[in-house]
Amino acid sequence: MTIDRFQQLWTDYLEGELGEAELAELRQLLENAPQLAEAAADSYQLHRLLGIAACDDPAVSDTFVQATMNRLPAGSSQFTGAVMQRLGTAQASRTRRLTRWLTVSAAALTLGIVSLALVLRNGGEPAGNQPIAQPAAPDAQATARLVAASHASFFGELAPPLQSILETRREYVLTEGLVELEFPSGASVIIESPAVFRVISDISLALDTGRCSVHAPEGAEGFRVETPVTRVVDRGTRFTVSVAETNETEVQVIEGVADVYRSDDDAPTAQAAPANLDQQPPDVRLTEREAYRFTAFEDGALAPVQYTPAAYRRSLPDRIIRYEAATAAGGGIQKLKSVTVQRGGREIQYPVEQLIPVELTWFKSADAVDRAGHLLGGEKLPENMAELLSDHLLTTGVINPGGSKTPLTTDPVMGADAGTPGFAVRFRQPVVNRPGPDLILMEVQTFSNPLDGDAFHVSPLKFAPGRKSHTIRRYDLTMNSPEALRLAPFSLYRYSQPIASLEQLHTATHVRANAGPRFHLLAVGIDLSDLGFAEGEQVEGLFFQDAEDDIHRVDPVFIAGFPEP
């Protein structure tokens, strides 16, 4: 009898279905029959190993590896410094031991220490083996940081986290989007994809291909962009450098002055800048509104080209930059704390309490039953499901709405019988259209879903001349963004019928299931201007539809408007 009861209780325990009374009963059973504790531990270990064996999926391993790599301290130079410091200590200690049994002159010892220092400066290897000669500081680790990214994808790796220090002299291949680097001198560089670049030092960047916009404020003069055929040295300015696949380099000066030095040998320019560059006369000095093209061909062509100031990028596009959220006890984020957005070129952080909440006013699913369900929540659902998109919990939401391949061009219908598939929200107070994103939508996503986020249409509730639907196909924070954080576990609620109205969402029978722990939270900003609303116009609500471009549907967990900046 005891064994049977243990089986029942233990299975319920592993399934997370044990109530307090039953847990007390299980505890009592184990105390009365200690051999059961051993059986329980065996079973528990097997249960955990089954979880591991079930995930024998390379994608799961890759995700883990990338997540771990993203958590490594950003400043690798600090790590290297610590290692070098320790090496130095060890070597010094060894040297001290040597002096006990070797009789050497003070001069010889000094010579030895100097030699040791030289070896250490070269990373413990003979100087002749160093791959890159840096006249100013052979082993200096640069501290240029990645300070902003927009839709950035790197070839074969995740984008480095914001504020991380980029590895010195490592080749970064930006395949999509834009990134902004900030150098210690204050110089900032926006690099546009496709581009291949390396941080060479605290005052220089190598651009092997692609385009960058440089701003070197007062104090950052002397900053260099090295290309395969030129060195562009800033003399206090804003300029762009574009490098084609043929190494052809175009330099455009927007403000101030830039000196251009042509490379005069076959060695990669980025790796061998002369120490006395400042004392050499430039091949070309470009001033404001001047543009030149330099080619790598033997004829050494150097020609003025059309000045195109539009090529200069002063900032990254407006977007959701990041969000902050409180972490649940078992790991993963759970409750939103703030959202940081760039609006009209200005970075603003909104505490969640300042955001304008929404209320769900309409919901209609597709015609078929959605096996993933329509609600996200905890073990119990709130009475009013209209709040699931506005509460600060990121583990609650209304998901898998109906949709349409074609965006709406007329007012959505929100009647019980012939309603428009999708969902509608009403803002608690009108959102005013200002430059940049005016509202945020956050959705849950996992690696088996589209990495850029689930596409959706957003439409006005009332169409008028000039108003239109807008389709979002790529989120600002995607599965490739280190800023898209991992979500705490949550429950899914599945219905046995398609949902035709908000009322049915409340009343139809549903069952709960635990979702896996591998979901992340993506985010996208929506600019009301994209829907045809005029600057300053007030918007009371919006209609959302899945874009039906694939089998996956949008899964919103939080929508809110931004207050006036």
Binding site: L30, P34, Y44, L50, S61, F64, T80, R494, A513
Partner: protein
């Protein structure tokens, strides 16, 4: 002592990391992620996020790599760090006021703690046995394991899919786990006997 190509590659990667090449650490994580997660999964008390502890162990190993002596046993060194990380997390959880009522019977905890020094090799061998035992399960029994551990669906859904009651599904899960446990024990005994 012989050095396998894998060991040379590992030491080479560690050398690159020490010289400042962070990307070389990726090989280290790839090489040890599954053994470390499996070992932690079998040692961790209920409520512990195993992946989180594993990641912390890797990050700690990276930060303290200057303490590792090249050419010695990196695996043992890494698992020692992981053991300390697990202890820290266990202590943190215990300090949560309602941990015992929410998560774990005390005796289970004690039994797991008693096993805390199980060598990683034992756990990894058990994982290999488990994989083999899973292959030997009949398809209808294997189906319950797939539903429970891969698809992670609810008991109600398993009941609906299999046409049984929820109580019958629970019993089935218990029996499948028991069968797997017996299979593992047999394979361990055979391995010890050199068969």
């Amino acid at each position: 002592m012989s050095v396998s190509p894998d060991d040379s590659r590992l030491e080479h990667a560690l050398g690159r990391v020490r010289r400042g090449d962070v990307s070389a650490f990726e090989y280290v994580v790839q090489r040890f992620e599954q053994p470390l997660r499996a070992w932690l999964a079998s040692q961790a008390m209920p409520g512990v996020d195993v992946d989180e502890v594993a990641q912390r162990a890797f990050v700690a190993a990276y930060g303290r790599l200057h303490e590792y002596t090249p050419g010695t046993n990196f695996s043992a060194w890494l698992f020692t760090i992981a053991r300390y990380q697990l202890r820290t997390e266990t202590t943190r959880l215990r300090r949560v006021a309602d941990y015992h009522t929410r998560y774990a019977p005390d005796l289970l905890q004690r039994e797991l703690e008693r096993r805390a020094d199980q060598p990683p090799e034992v756990v990894l061998a058990r994982l290999d046995h488990l994989r083999e035992c899973l292959k030997s399960l009949g398809s209808h029994l294997r189906q319950f394991i797939t539903w429970r551990y891969e698809e992670e669906i609810s008991l109600e859904e398993m009941a609906a899919r299999s046409g049984r009651s929820v109580a019958a599904v629970k019993k089935q899960l218990f029996l499948v786990r028991k069968k797997l446990q017996e299979c593992i024990c047999q394979r361990e005994a055979a391995a010890e006997g050199g068969v």
